[in-house]
Structure formats: structure tokens, C-alpha cells
């Protein structure tokens, strides 16, 4: 996967989340926290998936709900960590 591909990152994340919770569909901007999808256990699992799948490290300064609130937000965060680019 081309790491600079925002959509590719998003689809990788979507596949992981849909394989982890009983959803058939997840919108790009659906809020993972307000919906209850990201409970405390899933929040750290998702963070670890992001670190492993995209070879980045989530550090203390990255702990911001805005970085992980949705598929679009998480993909933008990953892209920014890898390339310094914003979407």
C-alpha cells in the first residue's frame, strides 16, 4: 500500500474495525467514540493496530481525540505522522 494514499489507509482501518465489531458499514466521518465503538479496550487495540500497520509510534503528544475520532481523522493522522502532510 502506498502510505501516502489517504483512501488506502482509510480502507485498511475500515477493514480492521469492521472485523472487530458487529457492524456492516462504517461511514468515513462516523464518530468512533460517541458511537461507543471505541471503548477503552478497543481504543488501545486500534492504536496498536495503527502503529503496527503503518509503522508509526503513537506518543503522548498524539493523544488527542481529534486524531482518532473517525476513519477520516485517523487516516489524516497516519498520513501526517508518516509524511508530515495534511489532507
Amino acid at each position: 500500500m502506498n502510505i501516502a494514499d489517504h483512501d488506502g489507509i482509510k480502507e485498511t482501518l475500515r477493514r480492521y474495525i469492521l472485523s472487530s465489531v458487529s457492524l456492516t458499514h462504517l461511514d468515513d466521518d462516523a464518530n468512533l467514540f460517541e458511537s461507543g465503538i471505541a471503548n477503552s479496550l478497543f481504543a488501545v487495540q486500534l492504536m496498536t493496530f495503527v502503529e503496527k500497520a503503518f509503522a508509526i509510534e503513537v506518543a503522548s503528544e498524539d493523544l488527542d481525540i481529534e486524531n482518532f475520532k473517525s476513519l477520516n481523522a485517523t487516516a489524516a493522522f497516519v498520513l501526517h505522522k508518516n509524511t508530515g502532510r495534511s489532507v
Binding site: 479496550l41 488501545v44 496498536t48 493523544l63
Partner: protein, 403 residues
């Protein structure tokens, strides 16, 4: 499980077993009776590098993988489950700090934790909240340029001798975690004695009264203390506790089969009795299963897999319950001799129950795992012949989430 170890991991296991045989097992009963682990023993753990074994070499740790970390706890768990409490909370504080500490915090604290010059304690549980993490009442407030801490933590392992506490509380409505040196004015440590098990693990209650701390003491951003800082600490604590329970289970099994094979009642050995064989069959099978679960959790952690969290929960849940059963059955197999303090069985019996409670009770694990399994089951499909109306349809059958 042993077959899948690398040569280096097997060598370390032999080292751990030799350490336990020489420095731990002969004295564990005394520590239990004295309700204390001598400082010289903590110094030996530190000297061997065991207290900082998982921390990177850059900070003075040993940089061991999780499988080796698990083998250490298994070996120690067989010798003295209470002693593993020191290793467990040291790992919980160290690994939470390694993950979420600022560069300055890591430089300031990790080298001393790695060398074992400093012992950490994980101050999460409160007298009234128990396992309800969201209900912590310990309070941080901002006063001019400092944070002021007030509250009480209870049942904190190693707090009797720890030099720094990782304290969880709330700043306004935000969960926060904060490093609190023991010598800070307003910190009062009150030892808790006469526990049923883990009697040597140095538990204490800690009162914080108007404890002033610099803002730079916060670990992780406000709001993420429970979901991320505590979660990482508890995750390592669960791996540690699972492997300690595995060691206790192995100790029970070895003591039981040895007794069953050698102790004669009349002309027959104890192990000739079918009822005893039933107990041993369950114990040996649980031992094998627990070993596989613990090893799987450690491997998943080494591979940095998201499912490592779930595997640690499963391993801790299974191994701690199996340890409780095994300890009870070991006392049963030993008979009256297993009820006396001179037998490791009686200590295992009391310590095993503690392993089922620390780092999340069995019931907390059931709640987390049960939800996880249901969530993953996927959308329900309705039976074909049944034509559902909107009213009949189970919500999960069409569960979608849209923004």
C-alpha cells in the same frame, strides 16, 4: 511450549530457575510469615536485572522480549507469588511511563527504575471504588502554577517500600495520571498487614493531603489516563500476573504428582486412587492450557499485535482461575500435611486467590471478554423463512453506524 523457545530463552529460563532455587524458594515461607521481603532480596532482583528487564537498554534495562519476561514470572511464581508482585508493579509503572512519558520524564525516572534503585507502585484502586475505574475520586486541582493532589488509594502493592507512585485521579472531569515521589510533603503511607495471601507484597494505603506537584508530573495528556495510561500498565500487569499464576500452577502440579507417586497409604500410593488421578488430570491439563495461553499472549506482545490486549486478558482469566483450582486440589492431595505452613501448598492456596483479584477480578475479565466476543460475532442474520417486520428485527441484524 518449551519446544518453541529460542536457545537464548531456554538459557534464561534455566538462569531464572536457578535463581529461584537458590534465593527464593527456600525463604518464601519465611517472607510469608514475616509479611515482608528483605531489602537484600530486592537488591538481588535488581542486581540480576530483573526489575528493569523489559525496559530498553538505552535506559539501562535489559531489553528482554515478552516471552522471556513471562518465563521470569513463571519461575518466580512457582517460588514466591508474593515476590512476583514486586516485578509486576515495577513493570506496570515502567511500561506505562515508557509508552506515555515525556522525554524528560523518561530520562528522569526510567534509568533508576531499570536498575531497581527505585521501586514504583501503581496507585489506582481506592477504598470505595474497587474495580470501577471511572469512579475514582482522587482529585487534582490547579492552584497557581502547581497541581494539588488530595485523595486516598488502598490495596497498593509494594507501596510500603516504593519510591514513586503512579497515581490516577481526576482533574476536573478529566482522568489524569501523575508521578508522585514518596517523599513529597503530604504523602502518608500506611502499611496493610494480615492479608490472606500476598502477605509479603508490601501492600499499603496511601493518603495524599494537599500534595503540591509540578504540572510536568502528569503522564500522558489529561483525559487519557484511564483509557491509555492505565490500560498499558494493566496490560503488562496482566501478562505478568498470568505468568505468575502459571508458575504457581506448575508448583502445585509438581508437588501434587510427587506426593501422589511417593506417599503410601497402606500398600498403595496416593496416586493409585482414581479420585486423586481425576484431580491430577485436571491440574495437568489446565497447566498445559495455561502455558499455551500465556505463551501466546507474550508472543502477541512481542509482535506488537492489537490482539495482545485480548490475549493477555484471556491468559490472566484462565491461569488465575486454574491456579485457584489447582491450589485447592493440591491441599486436597496432600491432606493434613498440605494444611500446614511448612507446605508450599498452604501458601499457594492463599496466594492463588489474590492472583484472581489483582489487575482486574475474574468478573471484570468476564465482562470485558464477554462484550468483546459478542461485538465480534458480526451482524445477525434473520432466519430465512421468517419475514421480519421492523418491529421484530433485532437491532444487531441491521446495525450500521452513520455519521
Amino acid at each position: 511450549m518449551r519446544q518453541s523457545l529460542t536457545g537464548q530463552q531456554r538459557d534464561k529460563l534455566e538462569e531464572f530457575q536457578a535463581f529461584v532455587a537458590a534465593e527464593v524458594a527456600p525463604y518464601a515461607g519465611w517472607w510469608d510469615r514475616d509479611q515482608a521481603i528483605p531489602g537484600s532480596v530486592i537488591a538481588k532482583l535488581a542486581g540480576a536485572g530483573y526489575l528493569g528487564c523489559s525496559l530498553p537498554r538505552d535506559y539501562g534495562g535489559r531489553g528482554w522480549d515478552s516471552v522471556t519476561f513471562g518465563l521470569l514470572h513463571e519461575a518466580m511464581g512457582k517460588g514466591s507469588p508474593a515476590l512476583t508482585g514486586v516485578l509486576t508493579v515495577q513493570a506496570m509503572v515502567s511500561m506505562a511511563l515508557l509508552k506515555w512519558g515525556t522525554p524528560a520524564q523518561k530520562r528522569a525516572w526510567l534509568p533508576a527504575l531499570a536498575k531497581g534503585e527505585l521501586i514504583g507502585a501503581f496507585a489506582l484502586t481506592e477504598p470505595e471504588t474497587g474495580s470501577a475505574l471511572q469512579s475514582v475520586t482522587t482529585e487534582f486541582t490547579r492552584r497557581s502554577d502547581v497541581l494539588v493532589l488530595n485523595g486516598t488509594k488502598k490495596w497498593i502493592s509494594c507501596a510500603q517500600f516504593a519510591g514513586v507512585f503512579l497515581v490516577f485521579g481526576k482533574l476536573g472531569q478529566c482522568p489524569v495520571a501523575c508521578l508522585v515521589p514518596r517523599e513529597t510533603p503530604g504523602v502518608q503511607v500506611e502499611p496493610i498487614s494480615d492479608l490472606m495471601g500476598f502477605r509479603a507484597a508490601g501492600l499499603a494505603q496511601i493518603r495524599f493531603q494537599d500534595v503540591a506537584l509540578p504540572e510536568s508530573s502528569l503522564v500522558g495528556k489529561p483525559g487519557f489516563a484511564l483509557s491509555h495510561v492505565a490500560a498499558v500498565g494493566l496490560h503488562h500487569g496482566r501478562i505478568s500476573t498470568a505468568c505468575s499464576a502459571l508458575g504457581l500452577l506448575r508448583g502445585c502440579f509438581e508437588e501434587s504428582v510427587t506426593h501422589a507417586a511417593t506417599r503410601k497409604i497402606g500398600e498403595r500410593t496416593v496416586g493409585a486412587a482414581g479420585m486423586i488421578r481425576s484431580l491430577l488430570a485436571r491440574m495437568g491439563t489446565d497447566l498445559e492450557a495455561a502455558a499455551l495461553l500465556c505463551h501466546g499472549a507474550c508472543r502477541a506482545e512481542d509482535e506488537h499485535l492489537p490482539e495482545a490486549f485480548e490475549k493477555a486478558l484471556i491468559a490472566k482469566y484462565f491461569a488465575s482461575r486454574a491456579a485457584v483450582h489447582a491450589a485447592s486440589d493440591t491441599v486436597q492431595v496432600r491432606g493434613a500435611s498440605g494444611c500446614h505452613a511448612s507446605s508450599a501448598a498452604s501458601r499457594y492456596y492463599r496466594d492463588a486467590k489474590i492472583l484472581e483479584i489483582i489487575e482486574g477480578t475474574t468478573q471484570v475479565h468476564e465482562d470485558l471478554l464477554g462484550k468483546l466476543f459478542v461485538d465480534r460475532a458480526g451482524p445477525l442474520e434473520l432466519p430465512i423463512p421468517f419475514k421480519a417486520t421492523t418491529h421484530d428485527r433485532h437491532p444487531a441484524a441491521t446495525r450500521r453506524y452513520a455519521s
